[in-house]
């Protein structure tokens, strides 16, 4: 008590000092500022940067994409008018942009049956800006958060169930084009279902959501987000599982197996036959004697 009184006395001694008003004013300002910074509604600032991001995206779009997709993403018809040079983008959403640009499929190097994946041209910030601009053209699927396609948060049992369920969904819906191993397969007229061996989970999720190129669209109504997550979990589990049988031979099924049976098996055995036949009964050849 005494201590308190003493310090109170000490403070109050300066109460009427010449600097008291200034110090109080400074304290008040610092406190108000930091409280405001802590509790201010986040929207105010991000709304500001959203507009900036869309504007940045629009500028990138005009340089890199508008040539085929039109200045407002309305799409451009070919001269004959029967096909699209680039499809309209209203409503495809940021997820489609993130997938197509993030995997390097867009911008296309040349027109073709299918845009192949290659090294991405834009940085992730620029891709996000492009996505923001395209999302502003019309409502569409947004880029998923990591917890939507990760089974990290589940218990061990739930994870195992998710993987088994994902495997069955994968075999029902995906293997017809991507093959049992996710190794990819052929589509009509030079198209192909790409290999999923190294595909980032985010891009698998986005591809399911947006149905790029020849792939059908697995909307959340058809394939709920949890099931998309399970498919991704199954594919990830295949990557972690060792090849129990030895070398995978490309994981392409009986065609590559047949190739190896002929090249390695028959090739090797015929080689051995030649070797055996080349050795006569004499263990050492005498000089000047034919074998």
């Amino acid at each position: 008590m005494r201590l308190l009184n003493r310090s109170a006395g000490r403070l109050s001694r300066h109460r009427r000092g010449p600097l008291a008003g200034v110090v109080l004013l400074l304290l008040g300002l610092v406190l108000t500022g930091s409280l405001y910074a802590a509790f201010a509604p986040a929207q105010a600032t991000s709304a500001e940067s959203d507009i900036e991001q869309v504007e940045k995206g629009r500028e990138l779009f005009l340089v890199g994409c508008a040539f085929c997709h039109g200045q407002n993403g309305e799409g451009i018809l070919t001269q004959r008018g029967d096909t699209q040079l680039g499809p309209p983008l209203a409503g495809v959403g940021a997820a489609a942009v993130d997938f197509q640009v993030g995997t390097g499929r867009m911008p296309m190097a040349q027109p073709g049956q299918q845009a192949p994946d290659k090294a991405p041209v834009y940085s992730q910030d620029e891709i996000d800006a492009l996505g923001a601009f395209v999302a502003s053209l019309g409502p569409g699927p947004a880029v998923p958060d990591e917890e939507e396609y990760s089974i990290e948060g589940l218990s061990a049992d739930e994870r195992e169930e998710a993987i088994v369920r994902g495997g069955q969904i994968f075999l029902t819906n995906c293997t017809a084009c991507h093959n049992f191993n996710g190794g990819g397969g052929a589509m009509p007229r030079g198209g192909y279902a790409p290999s999923l061996h190294d595909t980032d989970p985010k891009y698998i999720y986005e591809a399911l959501l947006t149905g790029p190129q020849q792939m059908p669209n697995f909307s959340n109504g058809n394939l709920p987000p949890e099931e998309k997550r399970d498919v991704i979990a199954y594919l990830e589990s295949l990557r972690e599982t060792p090849e129990y049988g030895g070398f995978g031979l490309g994981g392409l099924g009986p065609v590559s197996e047949g190739l190896f049976a002929w090249l390695v098996g028959i090739g090797g055995l015929v080689g051995f036959a030649v070797w055996i036949a080349a050795h006569s009964t004499r263990s050492t050849k005498k000089k000047g004697q034919a074998a």
């Binding site: 049956q113 195992e160 169930e161 993987i163 088994v164 495997g167 075999l171 029902t172 293997t175 017809a176 991507h178 093959n179 049992f180 191993n181 190794g183 990819g184 397969g185 052929a186 589509m187 009509p188 007229r189 030079g190 192909y192 279902a193 199954y234 589990s237 295949l238 599982t241 090849e243 129990y244 049988g245 030895g246 070398f247 995978g248 031979l249 994981g251 392409l252 099924g253 009986p254 065609v255 590559s256 197996e257 047949g258 190896f260 049976a261 002929w262 390695v264 098996g265 028959i266 055995l269 015929v270 051995f272 036959a273 030649v274 055996i276 036949a277 006569s280 009964t281 000089k287 000047g288």
Partner: protein, 583 residues
């Protein structure tokens, strides 16, 4: 004349006693007295086989069949051929709790929960691939060298039956696990059967015991796979080898080798060692492949479910060529009396393989009919010396190969970045044009090689030594090939000797009116085509003259020293030869 008696025994105090037999001798004697093996073995252990690598191709098939029997017995101990549905609770995480047939579950158990099971499964599968592949290369060797000719036609037929039975055995075997890939194959087989007009549906219902899939197909395939076909295969392999022993093995022509003898090494010890050793090599290759290379990873396919399918659904390689025919076939269908006739399935997958197999079976008989050759043949022919036969097989191989490639059209499309449609259009034409081109090229190629053989016989081999004449002209020196080689090259018949001419016109070769029906006219025309443009070996007179010429050339040889190193041209014994630079 006196006889030296100093070496004659002067007493016969001890009688001659047979040496006590060794332990092996005792056993052998015991067995011989009861089984009479000695008499049988005496001849067969000394049986002579000729030596050439290409004679061992059939052996690969035999030994891989032994590997199949051994690994197959192992698999039967754990495999449960039942279509009863259970939930998998084994070691493979990704399928735990999934409903599947007991055959699929027991396959997974063999793969993951039986010690050495996956190795055995993979060895069995690789050995099956090698079994059929080696039968095919053996068949090609036999045909290309003329070993299918009289008296071995029936062994050719048995071999063809072995090939088709092996194929069926393979199909029934890889269908057993009831995984997604094999189930797709069984479903396809059901469709093939149903495409047969009128009886197809009945056959399918009979095989499956009702509508596909039912629950009897796996047990039925199992019985066929482990009892019926292996029994037939064993019996036919035995017949094949008995005939081989009876006919004696064919041999390449060479000094001392005739149609009446066999020159080679005896069964014991040489061929017992070579063949026995080859068994271990085949076993080792199967074991290495089974241990190191994944085949048929059923755990990734998952259990069969008619609603599912995977890209890259192909049969094993030996069923690949009819699958290719199916893939490139235009979608023809007709409707008669309210029924659908699926030509698009029936023609490529039922008619075509049946037709091809019939052609294969008949090849020796067709050839004998065309050439009219009824003599026995134990000396082999080089492929070049029967250009039309060689070209015929090459064109059949081309047809097979193109169909085969068409069966992998999707893999070719993704790996070579091609359009699957373009591959299909290309193949539709290529399967008809390709064999024709292959026939013509091979035939001319063989004839050119015959011509080259004659060059060697008449003018010798090219030494690579360039001579310059006083006038400044350059020429390459030729030297005669050695006698053994010349013998082997000339040890073939002239074509006139190897066929019985059929009359193509009104007169037969003897000037008599031929009893020419339409058949013999066709036969005559085919015979002319068969031998047309073949190059005959030089006559004795031609060879004689060529030798004189060579000698003459040798005498008129220019003075000088030829460039160093030509003595090592592979045509001479080089014992004691050195490069001059070494002195």
């Amino acid at each position: 004349m006196s006889i030296d008696t100093s070496k004659v025994a002067t007493s016969n105090s001890s009688a001659a006693v047979a040496k006590k037999p060794g332990r092996a001798g005792v056993v052998a004697n015991w067995a011989d007295e009861r089984l009479g093996l000695g008499t049988a073995m005496k001849k067969n252990l000394r049986k002579v086989f000729p030596d050439h690598w290409s004679f061992m191709l059939g052996e690969i098939a035999l030994w891989s069949f032994v590997v199949l029997l051994l690994s197959g017995v192992f698999l039967t101990l754990w495999f449960n051929p039942s279509m009863g549905e259970i939930h998998y609770e084994g070691s493979y995480d990704q399928l735990r709790g999934v409903a599947m047939s007991e055959s699929m579950a027991s396959t997974l158990d063999i793969s993951f929960d039986v010690r050495g099971g996956l190795l055995m499964r993979q060895m069995h599968h690789w050995a099956a691939m090698l079994f059929i592949a080696s039968m095919m290369i053996h068949l090609l060797r036999v045909f290309f060298t003329g070993a299918h000719r009289k008296p071995r036609e029936m062994n050719w037929v048995i071999g063809c039956l072995l090939l088709i039975l092996g194929t069926l055995e393979g199909f029934t075997g890889y269908s057993l696990p009831d995984d997604l890939l094999s189930g797709t194959g069984v479903r396809a087989a059901d469709g093939f059967m149903k495409s047969i007009p009128v009886v197809g549906t009945y056959m399918s219902f009979f095989l499956f015991g009702g509508e596909f899939p039912g629950d009897s197909i796996i047990p039925r395939l199992y019985t066929i796979h482990i009892l019926l076909i292996p029994g037939l295969l064993l019996a036919l392999i035995a017949a094949h080898m008995l005939l081989l022993v009876y006919h004696k093995h064919t041999q390449w022509p060479g000094p001392g080798r005739t149609e009446q003898n066999v020159v080679g090494f005896p069964m014991l010890p040489v061929y017992a060692a070579k063949a026995g050793g080859f068994f271990f090599i085949v076993f080792g290759v199967c074991a290495l492949m089974g241990g190191l290379m994944t085949i048929n990873p059923v755990w990734k396919y998952g259990p069969y479910d008619p609603t599912k399918v995977t890209a890259g659904s192909q049969p094993d390689w030996y069923m690949g060529w009819p699958d290719g025919a199916l893939r490139i076939m235009p979608g023809w269908e007709s409707e008669f009396w309210g029924t659908t006739w699926s030509w698009n399935v029936f023609l490529p997958i039922i008619v075509l393989p049946g037709l091809m197999f019939t052609i294969l079976l008949l090849l020796p008989f067709l050839e004998a009919w065309v050439t009219g050759d009824k003599r026995e043949h134990h000396l082999l022919q080089r492929p070049r010396n029967a250009p039309t036969r060689t070209a015929l097989m090459v064109s059949l191989m081309t047809f097979y190969g193109l169909m085969w490639a068409a069966g992998g059209n999707d893999i070719i499309a993704i790996k070579l970045h091609l359009s699957i449609n373009q591959i299909t259009y290309f193949m539709r034409a290529a399967v008809f044009i390709g064999p024709l081109i292959a026939f013509m090229i091979t035939r001319r190629w063989c004839i050119s090689l015959q011509r080259q053989d004659n060059e060697k016989l008449l003018h010798g081999y090219e030494t690579g030594v360039i001579m310059r004449s006083p006038e400044g002209g350059y020429s390459e020196r030729h030297l005669p090939i050695d006698t053994a080689k010349a013998y082997a090259l000339t040890a073939r018949d002239r074509d006139e000797a190897s066929y019985v001419a059929v009359s193509t016109g009104d007169r037969d070769p003897n000037g008599l009116a031929a009893p020419a029906g339409r058949g013999s006219k066709l036969r005559g025309r085919l015979q002319t085509l068969w031998f047309a443009d073949n190059i005959q070996k030089p006559t004795a007179a031609e060879l004689e003259e060529a030798h004189h010429h060579a000698e003459h050339e040798a005498h008129g040889e220019l003075e000088g020293v030829s460039a160093d190193g030509h003595q090592f041209d592979g045509h001479h014994a080089v014992e004691g030869e050195t490069l001059r630079g070494d002195h």
